[in-house]
């Protein structure tokens, strides 16, 4: 605890935050305590590095104000909204792709196909039946059961997983490209145009 008290004071000393009495007390302690002296020397080394580096400020490339004006004229939220709509579009197309493949296949490509499994034609019939007799609760429950069974079976379908992987990859690539485009330095946009 005693050492903590003194090492904290070393930091304050480097910032000229100690009064003369505290400085004297710290110097006396540093003469007696090897561990604190090592801490002092290490902190002083870092302090020197930072002091040396801090003598130079870095600046943006020339023309920053003009680039900022250009960005001000084309606010970022519009770009973000555009990205959002595109992402939603890709999500929709991906979903359509998966279920489109399944519907076109009519369910006949499913591995382990049986009468307990919902295929596209059956889905069509059930939907019509459902619309015709919405009051029939049992119909809804049966349809739910069939959907659950189909979902379970879909997990074992290579086509299903192929579609999922393709969709996720497409969405991932699209989001990556949008983010990369939106975060690029305004000064280098012309390289893409």
């Amino acid at each position: 605890m005693k050492n903590d008290k003194f090492t904290e004071k070393i930091s304050l000393w480097l910032d000229n935050q100690l009064n003369p009495n505290e400085v004297t007390e710290l110097e006396t302690h540093l003469n007696d305590c090897v561990a604190c002296r090592q801490t002092y020397e290490a902190m002083q080394h870092v302090h020197g590095l930072l002091r040396s580096a801090a003598t130079r400020m870095v600046a943006p490339n020339p023309g920053f104000t003009q680039r900022f004006e250009a960005r001000l004229a084309h606010p970022q939220p519009a770009t973000r909204l555009w990205q959002l709509w595109l992402t939603i579009g890709v999500l929709f197309l991906g979903t359509f792709f998966i279920f489109g493949l399944w519907l076109i296949g009519g369910g006949i490509t499913l591995v382990g196909f049986s009468s307990y499994v919902l295929d596209a034609r059956l889905l069509n019939q059930w939907l019509y039946a459902l619309i015709d007799s919405m009051a029939d609760l049992r119909l809804v429950l049966d349809l739910g059961t069939l959907l659950l069974k189909t979902s379970y079976l879909m997990m074992g379908q290579p086509l299903f997983w192929g579609g999922v992987i393709a969709t996720v990859s497409l969405i991932g690539f699209w989001v990556w490209m949008m983010r990369a485009l939106s975060r690029r330095s305004p000064s280098s946009i012309h390289m893409l145009i």
């Binding site: 930091s11 304050l12 002296r37 290490a42 400020m57 920053f64 390289m191």
Partner: protein
């Protein structure tokens, strides 16, 4: 055993700066009054006044962003974002306070947020596009200087720090802020700033010592 040492080598905060001053450190009452008048005019919708602010403060803001993020492209983006946020939040600036502190507060909070988000990203999206490494129109002198500096120990040491410690160190050394000013800029207390600077120096000192040990072992 003689343990006595000489403390004459201590490097105070205020001595060597005057020999190599930087533009933002020479804040006079006149420049402060000028900042205030620009800020007030910008608050009333004068976009030319805001562009004067951008001209005057791009260097300190960019410097803070670069030291925080360690990458010139990210620093450029963050500087622009800082000025955009400042532009949209101008009504929250209270006249009478130092405008530069308010602006650097916007910049430091934005950079801290970026670094916190980056910590949770397994792969940085921004490192992936290959065109990000292509130069805009040949290497700028400033970027050459940055590259040279980045080869040194400094970035490695700053990288060891949590983002809020790093901001405190940068504001203290590069922007020569007092403890009070840093506390105001970072919306915290003076004792918290004292603690952050102490912990930051301790962490950087330990990191520097580890590097020295590693270098000794390889020789």
């Amino acid at each position: 055993m003689n343990n006595s040492i000489t403390f004459g080598q201590r490097i105070p905060m205020t001595s060597s700066v005057a020999t190599e001053p930087t533009t933002h450190k020479q804040v006079t009452p006149e420049t402060q009054a000028q900042e205030q008048s620009w800020a007030l005019a910008a608050q009333k919708g004068d976009s030319a006044a805001f562009l004067n602010i951008v001209d005057a403060f791009q260097k300190p803001v960019y410097n803070l962003c670069y030291r925080m993020l360690g990458d010139p492209n990210e620093a450029e983006d963050a500087t622009q974002e800082t000025f955009l946020r400042a532009y949209t939040k101008l009504d929250t600036y209270q006249p009478g306070h130092k405008f530069s502190s308010w602006l650097l507060s916007v910049a430091s909070h934005y950079c801290i947020d970026l670094l916190r988000k980056r910590r949770y990203q397994m792969v940085s999206w921004d490192d992936l596009p290959p065109w990000r490494w292509l130069p805009d129109s040949g290497p700028q002198p400033e970027q050459v200087a940055l590259k040279h500096e980045s080869d040194g120990d400094l970035h490695g040491l700053l990288d060891t720090l949590p983002s809020d410690y790093r901001a405190a160190v940068i504001l203290r050394y590069w922007h020569e802020m007092s403890y009070d000013e840093i506390a105001e800029t970072m919306n915290t207390t003076v004792s918290a700033i004292k603690s952050r600077l102490f912990r930051a120096r301790q962490m950087m000192a330990e990191s520097a010592q580890e590097k020295e040990i590693e270098m000794d072992a390889t020789i």
